[in-house]
C-alpha cells in the first residue's frame, strides 16, 4: 500500500467555547446512507445538557448587552467563515445524507445566505416589533422587544446544516443564547459548524451544540427549569404535545416552524417589555 492514511476528525460536543467529549463517555456510530462508517459521535447525556445550559445562562447577559450592530456583525462573520469552507461542508453533507454534490453545495450556500439574512435583522426588527403607545394621559409609553434568555433548539433530522442554521440563527440574533441538539442521524455538519462559530468572535457559551438522540434528550430540554424557550421544529409532530406538556412547569415558550426565512422565528423567542414614565416638570 502506498499513499498516506487520512487523519480523521474526532467529533465532540461544543460547550462554552470548548470541544469536550460527553461526560457520559458514550458514543454512537454515524454511517453514510450506504451504511459505511463515518464517525463515532458523542451521545450527549442529560448532564451534558445541564452543563450547556449553565454556560448559556452565564453568557446570556453579555450577549444581550452587545449592540445590535455588533451581534449582526458577528452573525455575518459566521456566514463568512462558513462560505470559506463550503466544499468541506458540502462533502460532509453528501457523506451523511447521500445528497448529490450539487445539492449539498446548494445547502451550504443556502445556509450562508440564511445567516446573512438573519444577521441583518439584528438592528431592524426591534424598530418594527416595538412601538410607542399613545396612552390617554401624561405618560411616555413604549414597548421594546427583548431577548427571552436561554433557548433550547431541536434541529431537524434532514438538512443537517441548513436545518441547524435555520433553527439557531434566529434564536441568537436577538441576544438569546442557545443549546442546540444536532440532527440525531446526521450530526456531523452541526459539530463542524461549531468550528465555524469558534472562529467567528461569537462569545463562549452563546451557542452550545450537542449530538445525541432526540428521544433521550428532548424531554430534558422541555423540563429544564432554566431554559426559557424551546424550538421544536426538528421534532416529529406527534411528539409536540408531550414536549409542550413537559415544558409547562416553567411556562416555557415552545414553538415550531416550517419556513426558514421568517421574522416570526426571531420574535417567538423575544419578550415585549412596556415602559411607562410620567411627562411633566
Amino acid at each position: 500500500m502506498s499513499g498516506r492514511l487520512e487523519v480523521m476528525k474526532t467529533y465532540k460536543l461544543y460547550i462554552n467555547g470548548a470541544f469536550p467529549r460527553t461526560e457520559s463517555g458514550r458514543s454512537y456510530e454515524i454511517t453514510s446512507n450506504k451504511g459505511e462508517f463515518l464517525a463515532n459521535a458523542c451521545l450527549a447525556s442529560r448532564k451534558d445538557l445541564r452543563d450547556a445550559v449553565v454556560a448559556a445562562r452565564a453568557a446570556q447577559p453579555g450577549w444581550a448587552k452587545a449592540t445590535a450592530f455588533n451581534r449582526g456583525q458577528i452573525m455575518y462573520r459566521i456566514a463568512e467563515m462558513l462560505e470559506g469552507r463550503s466544499d468541506q461542508f458540502a462533502q460532509e453533507i453528501s457523506l451523511q445524507t447521500g445528497a448529490s454534490a450539487k445539492e449539498s453545495l446548494q445547502e451550504v450556500s443556502d445556509s450562508v445566505d440564511l445567516l446573512v439574512w438573519y444577521a441583518g435583522w439584528s438592528d431592524k426588527l426591534p424598530s418594527l416589533a416595538g412601538s410607542t403607545n399613545p396612552v390617554s394621559g401624561p405618560f411616555y409609553n413604549f414597548t421594546v422587544p427583548e431577548a427571552l434568555g436561554v433557548v433550547g433548539a431541536i434541529a431537524p433530522i434532514d438538512k443537517p446544516l441548513l436545518g441547524f442554521v435555520a433553527t439557531v440563527a434566529p434564536i441568537l440574533v436577538s441576544g438569546n443564547t442557545a443549546v442546540a441538539l444536532a440532527s440525531s442521524t446526521a450530526p456531523l455538519s452541526a459539530i463542524s459548524f461549531a468550528e465555524v462559530v469558534a472562529t467567528s468572535d461569537l462569545p463562549n457559551g452563546v451557542l452550545n451544540i450537542l449530538s445525541g438522540q432526540q428521544s433521550e434528550l428532548a424531554p430534558w430540554f422541555a423540563s429544564h427549569m432554566d431554559i426559557d424557550g424551546l424550538d421544536i421544529s426538528g421534532l416529529p409532530i406527534d411528539q409536540h404535545g408531550a414536549i409542550k406538556e413537559a415544558g409547562v412547569e416553567n411556562l416555557k415558550r415552545i414553538s415550531a416552524f416550517t419556513k426558514t426565512t421568517e421574522p416570526g422565528r426571531i420574535l417567538a423567542f423575544m419578550e415585549a417589555k412596556t415602559v411607562w414614565h410620567p411627562i411633566g416638570n
Binding site: L125, L128, A129, S131, N133, P134, V135, S136, G137, F139, N141, T143, P145, D228, G241, A242, K244, E245, G247, V248, E249, N250, L251, R253, E262, P263, G264, R265, L267, A268, M270, E271, A272, K273, T274, V275, W276, H277, P278
Partner: protein, 478 residues
C-alpha cells in the same frame, strides 16, 4: 390633625339586579340547571343567584359561537365588525354609572375606582379595538389577518368588567366569536354586558356568556370545538390549563400571577414615591396581579420612606365601597381573606415585622387592614408568594445591582416599579428588570394602547396595543 368625613354613598338605585340569572347563549337567556349565590363582599348580602354552567351549557354556547362564526361573523367586513365594537363602547359609556355601581356591589372595590378606572377603561378598550377591525393587515411583523374561530375566555374576579373588555374586544375586532366565563364570585357585570350586546344589535352567538365555577371553566378548556383559550388568573390554574391544552391544536394565552418589585433608589422624590407605593399595593385592595407587592428600598432612605408610608397608610379610608370617600374596599371573598390571613400569619411566624394601619373595620363582610411587613428576607413566603391582598413586603438594598438581583429573584415577571430622579439610572434598571410592564415614577397605570403581560411564569403573550392583537390572529408572531 383629624379629618372627619360625612358618609357620601353612591345610590344603588341606578342598577336593577334580577333575583336569578341564566346563561347568555346565542343571543338568548337560557335557564341554568342549578344556581349559586353571589354576594356583596362588603355586607355578605345575597345579591342574586347565578347559574352554574354545565358541560352541556358550554357545548351549546360553543355550537352557537361556531355556527355564527361560520355562517356570518367571519364573512362580515372588518369595517362593519368595527362598528359593532364602537356601538358597544358607546353603550358602556352611556350606562357607565350602572356598571360602576354593580361592579362595586359584586366585587367590593371602592366606587371611586370602578367609576374612574374599571368602567372608563373598559369602554376605552372597545373603542381602541373597534378601530383595529378594518386595519388588521397593519397589525405587525409576520401577523396574519385570519381569526382563530371560536375563542374560550376565562376571566378573574379582581377586575370583572375590565378583564371582560380586555378579552372580548380584541377577539371581536379580529373576527373571532367568544364563549366567556366570568369568575364565580363576580358574574353580574358580565351579565349586564350581555344586555349591552343585545342593545348594540350584535348578531346572536358572537358573544356567549356561561357563568359557573372551575368545572365550567374546565369544560371550556377541554371542549374540542374551541380554537383558542385566553385565561387570566393564578399561575397554578394557568399551568393546569396549559397542560390540558398542550396535546391539542388550541392556541393559548395566559395572564397569570405576579410578585412585582417596586424599587426605590436613594435619589427618589420621597413624597411622590410614597403615593406611588400606596397606589402600587393598595389599589383595588391589592387584588392586582401586577401589584407592587415587594417594596425594595435603598438603605439610605428606608427609614424615612417607611415612616412617611405608615403615616400615609393611617389616612387610608377603609370601609363601605359605595362611599365615594372610600380608598380601600372589601376583600372579594371569604376564601381570599383566608388566604391573605394564612400568608400574613406565615410572615409573622417566619420573623418579619408586621404593622397594620389603625383603622376600624366593618363588622359584616370581608376586610383586611392595610399592612406592611418589614425585615422581610427573600426566603420568606411573603416575599415569594402572591398574597393578592393589601399586604406589602419590604426589603432593602445597598447597591443598584443588589436591587436588580432581588427584584428578579422570583419565578414571576409581570411588573416592576422604579423610583429615581436620574434618567440614565431609570433606563438602566428598566433594561435589567425581567418584567413585561415597568412603571417608572408611577405605578398601576393601564391603557388599551399599552401592551400588558408577563415574562417567565407570569404568562404567555400580551393584551392591549398592537402586540395584544396578534394573540387573536391565527399563526401570528408577536
Amino acid at each position: 390633625m383629624n379629618f372627619e368625613y360625612a358618609a357620601a354613598p353612591e345610590s344603588r338605585s341606578v342598577v336593577k339586579i334580577d333575583p336569578e340569572y341564566g346563561h347568555f347563549i346565542n343571543g338568548k337567556w337560557v335557564n341554568g340547571s342549578s344556581h349559586f349565590n353571589t354576594i356583596n363582599p362588603a355586607t355578605e348580602e345575597v345579591l342574586s343567584r347565578i347559574a352554574l354552567g354545565t358541560a352541556a351549557d358550554v357545548d351549546a354556547a360553543v355550537k352557537a359561537a361556531r355556527n355564527t362564526f361560520d355562517k356570518s361573523w367571519s364573512k362580515l367586513s372588518g369595517r362593519e365588525r368595527g362598528k359593532y365594537l364602537f356601538r358597544i363602547a358607546r353603550i358602556m359609556q352611556e350606562r357607565a354609572r350602572e356598571f360602576a355601581v354593580l361592579e362595586t356591589l359584586d366585587n367590593g372595590k371602592p366606587i371611586r375606582e370602578s367609576r374612574d378606572v374599571d368602567v372608563p377603561l373598559s369602554a376605552a378598550h372597545f373603542f381602541y379595538h373597534a378601530g383595529w377591525a378594518d386595519k388588521l393587515e397593519y397589525a405587525g411583523v409576520d401577523t396574519t389577518t385570519a381569526p382563530h374561530g371560536v375563542v374560550g375566555q376565562i376571566i378573574p374576579w379582581n377586575f370583572p368588567l375590565l378583564m371582560l373588555a380586555w378579552k372580548v374586544a380584541p377577539a371581536l375586532a379580529t373576527g373571532n366569536t367568544v364563549v366567556l366565563k366570568p369568575a364565580e364570585t363576580t358574574s353580574l357585570t358580565a351579565l349586564l354586558f350581555a344586555q349591552v350586546c343585545q342593545q348594540a344589535g350584535l348578531p346572536d352567538g358572537v358573544v356567549n356568556i356561561v357563568t359557573g365555577d372551575g368545572s365550567t371553566g374546565s369544560a371550556i378548556v377541554n371542549h374540542p370545538g374551541i380554537d383558542k383559550i385566553a385565561f387570566t388568573g393564578s399561575t397554578e390554574v394557568g399551568k393546569l390549563i396549559a397542560r390540558a391544552v398542550a396535546p391539542t391544536n388550541k392556541s393559548l394565552t395566559l395572564e397569570l400571577g405576579g410578585k412585582g418589585a417596586n424599587i426605590v433608589f436613594g435619589d427618589a422624590a420621597i413624597d411622590e414615591t410614597v403615593e406611588g407605593i400606596v397606589n402600587g399595593i393598595f389599589f383595588n385592595q391589592g387584588h392586582v396581579c401586577c401589584a407592587g407587592s415587594r417594596l425594595i428600598l435603598q438603605e439610605s432612605i428606608a427609614d424615612e420612606v417607611l415612616e412617611k408610608l405608615k403615616r400615609r397608610m393611617d389616612k387610608i379610608r377603609v370601609g363601605d365601597p359605595l362611599d365615594k370617600n372610600t380608598d380601600l374596599g372589601a376583600i372579594n371573598s371569604a376564601e381570599q381573606l383566608a388566604k391573605i390571613r394564612e400568608l400574613t400569619a406565615a410572615g409573622e411566624a417566619e420573623g418579619a415585622g408586621r404593622w397594620s394601619s389603625n383603622c376600624a373595620l366593618p363588622e359584616n363582610g370581608f376586610w383586611f387592614a392595610p399592612t406592611i411587613f418589614t425585615g422581610v428576607t427573600q426566603a420568606h413566603r411573603i416575599a415569594r408568594e402572591e398574597i393578592f391582598g393589601p399586604v406589602l413586603s419590604v426589603l432593602t438594598f445597598r447597591t443598584p445591582a443588589e436591587a436588580i438581583e432581588k427584584a428578579n429573584n422570583t419565578p414571576f415577571g409581570l411588573s416592576a416599579g422604579i423610583w429615581s430622579e436620574k434618567g440614565s439610572n431609570i433606563l438602566w434598571a428598566t433594561q435589567q428588570l425581567r418584567a413585561g410592564v415597568i412603571w417608572a415614577n408611577t405605578f398601576n397605570k393601564f391603557d388599551p394602547a399599552s401592551p400588558f403581560g408577563g415574562y417567565k411564569e407570569s404568562g404567555w403573550g400580551r393584551e392591549g396595543g398592537r402586540h395584544g392583537l396578534s394573540a387573536y390572529l391565527k399563526g401570528s408572531a408577536k
